[in-house]
Amino acid sequence: MISLNKITKVYNDKAVVNNFSLEVDRGEMCVLIGPSGCGKTTTLRMINRMIEPTSGEIFIDSRDVKKIKPDLLRRSIGYAIQMVGLFPHMTVAANIAVVPQLLRWEKKKIKNRIDELLILVGLSPAEYSSKYPYQLSGGEAQRIGVARALAANPPILLMDEPFGAVDPLTRTKLQTQFLNIQKELHKTIILITHDLDEAIRMADRIAIMKDGELVQYDTPENILSRPYNQFVYKFVGTDRALKRLSRINISKFIKSAPSVDEDFSMDKVNQACEKCRWVWVTDSKHRLIGWIDRKILSQTTSIKEALVPVSLDEIAVTEGASLKEVLSIMLSSGLRTIPVTDKKGFLIGEIDMSIIERISAESINHYEKS
């Protein structure tokens, strides 16, 4: 657990961080966000004593960091920065090995750890171990940066815009991958970003900073639905409803979907269509291939003729999707109800726009009440 207690940092008579307190629970990801110059990087760097606070205390697992030698403290905390800072004269393997070597691990243990970490961040050890940083793309370099921060298996990670210097597409990939890693490793993480979408996507809790002070510290859901003041309200922006939808997983809202097999007889199909306007059609392995509209059914003689084939990418969502993705597909396909499949295309259920309307209404009410 990390605990910052009334931290203040003064530069040239100006408090860059002012009376800042924050607690991050074990295994939790806290995202620090705020306008540039709000003191988030200074705050982060005080935790591993790259910067010493003017006043206040910082505890890690109830130990005062001032009482730990800076070098030893830093070896026990993973550190990843936006510029990555890979050592250009060392191979990828040597870069990852830095902290384990400082901790005097055995050679064999280091070697195994390097392979393990490269696999964890999705790079092949055989291919990447002996590469030099200049041979890596921006995304690869940032992954190595994360692997290097994780090298000695520190319980805590400090990350300053770790996915900052890459294109949006790569960034989303890295975020997803990092979330998966975090699910496995349960590190205590403080991550800085200036990208609110990233914060909402990644954080267990978001700390919004302004002028060196903590404005609101809460779960992404609450930041979006109950902004503490005008600053947070504006910071979150007018698309807060959409952002909130991106935090909500569809799993709770999936309804069972009426479906028929493509081999069914017309009678069976007619039967299935009695209760609803359409049915989803699946193949023999229960994979979604299209739908049949009841109106067309009377004019046709076989399923094949009535079937409207679909492309899964265009109208279906997968189980792990958020309501934001659902809305996006509904708007682009013009359907109010869309199917939910698993990754292989098996039909799981369907989801209706009324859910989104209900949830959006809730969040609007929240703010108007407060």
Partner: protein, 396 residues
């Protein structure tokens, strides 16, 4: 031919034109002894018309090759052709040397004349131009650089140049030459060694402390602007005073003239390139790299040894290379204040109006400078390999 690839090399072309012109003035001066005026001989008279035309033809081919495009092979052929011309120059020299009738005069000699020197100059202009185009083709560049000196040494050791004026001079002063040659090397080595250590320390100081930066650069910059002759002279007075005050200094060889002022002056000249390059070597390291090192728990010493030293090494070595090459030349002046070295022959030759003796000092200095430069470049290339592309990827 594609117009874009048609890029005449102006430097090489001017070298070729100069080379053709250089066939006409007198090539060799035959003298009965060191001090006589001697008799000038043209190339056709000395080497024969056929060989003269052959060299002219070689210059023409160089001229044509200078118009070549961006093809490395053509640049290599250009450089090698210039080498062949140089080899012919040495063949002519050995022919002239062998033809000389030494029976009449024991110290009779062949001195090179204007045509000889101009041809050497032109050939090296072409070689320089060709090597510049060859960029990092280190092997072929080294072949082009060292072929001609190797052939020269071959003729020298097979006694084909025994009547070449410089060799005659050498034969007369063999003992002295070996002594001064070694002395020259020791002066350079000692001054570059201490100059580099002091320079690197000052460079680190300039990087670490903002207060020290300006004074350090001020002093090293100023010292570089003092003419070498003046600096050697300026040191005589204070050192004499000090050595008279503290006699034990005289006993260990520190006096107003001799090695002590020479070494001090050479060390001072050595500083600027080393200080500057150490400073920029350290300053150009990406801040995020240092930050990452610290953030991962490296101590200050570990950051220095594992990050700063290897990343700044190529630039620091480059500074030492410049200092060493410059030092080889500057040490020649040291002879003026009694420190010896190859400069001794130059100043003796100047005093006695004996150009052959000047050459006896100058030629080894040039070879030594080229050799030092080549060796240092190889070392730098070797250490810089991994860091070479760092700059392109600073943003990572």
């Amino acid at each position: 031919m594609n117009l874009k690839s048609f890029s005449p090399d102006k430097i090489a072309i001017s070298g070729c034109v100069l080379g053709l012109i250089s066939l006409f003035p007198g090539w060799f001066i035959l003298k009965p002894h060191r001090l006589s005026a001697g008799m000038s001989v043209n190339l056709p008279d000395s080497a024969g018309l056929a060989l003269t035309i052959l060299v002219g033809f070689l210059w023409m081919s160089c001229f044509v090759l200078s118009f070549a495009g961006k093809n490395d092979l053509q640049h290599a052929i250009l450089g090698i052709t210039a080498d062949v011309i140089l080899i012919f120059v040495f063949i002519f020299l050995s022919m002239a040397s062998n033809n000389l009738d030494v029976k009449t005069h024991v110290s009779a000699r062949v001195s090179p004349g204007a045509g000889f020197w101009l041809t050497m100059l032109s050939a090296y202009i072409v070689i320089f131009a060709a090597e510049k185009k060859l960029e990092d083709r280190l092997i072929i560049k080294n072949i082009i650089t060292w072929t001609a000196p190797a052939v020269f040494l071959f003729f020298l050791f097979t006694r084909n140049l025994r009547n070449f004026s410089v060799v005659v001079e050498f034969a007369v002063q063999r003992q002295r030459f070996i002594q001064e040659f070694l002395h020259h090397i020791i002066l350079v080595a000692v001054s570059v060694f201490f100059g580099s250590i002091i320079g690197i320390l000052l460079g680190i100081l300039a990087k670490r402390s903002k207060k020290a930066r300006n004074p350090v650069f001020f002093i090293t910059d100023i010292s570089q602007t003092i003419p070498s002759l003046a600096l050697f002279g300026l040191l005589i007075a204070p050192l004499s005073v000090i050595s008279f005050k503290y006699p034990f200094l005289r006993e260990i060889g520190i006096r107003g003239i001799g090695n002590a002022p020479a070494l001090i002056a050479l060390i001072i000249y050595c500083l600027l390139p080393v200080v500057r390059n150490t400073y920029s070597g350290l300053a150009h390291i990406d801040k995020s790299v240092i930050d990452a090192g610290k953030g991962m728990g490296m101590s200050k010493m570990q950051v220095f040894l594992k990050i700063e030293v290897p990343l700044s090494a190529p630039l620091v070595l480059e500074g030492i290379r410049i200092s060493s090459v410059q030092g080889v030349g500057l040490t020649a002046v040291a002879a003026l204040i009694g420190a010896g070295g190859l400069g001794w022959f130059i100043f003796q030759g100047l005093g006695q109006a004996a150009p052959d003796m000047i050459l006896l000092g100058t030629i080894p200095i040039i070879i030594l400078a080229l050799f030092t430069d080549g060796v240092m470049r190889m070392i730098i290339k070797f250490t810089a390999n991994k860091v070479k592309k760092q700059k392109d990827h600073n943003r990572l």
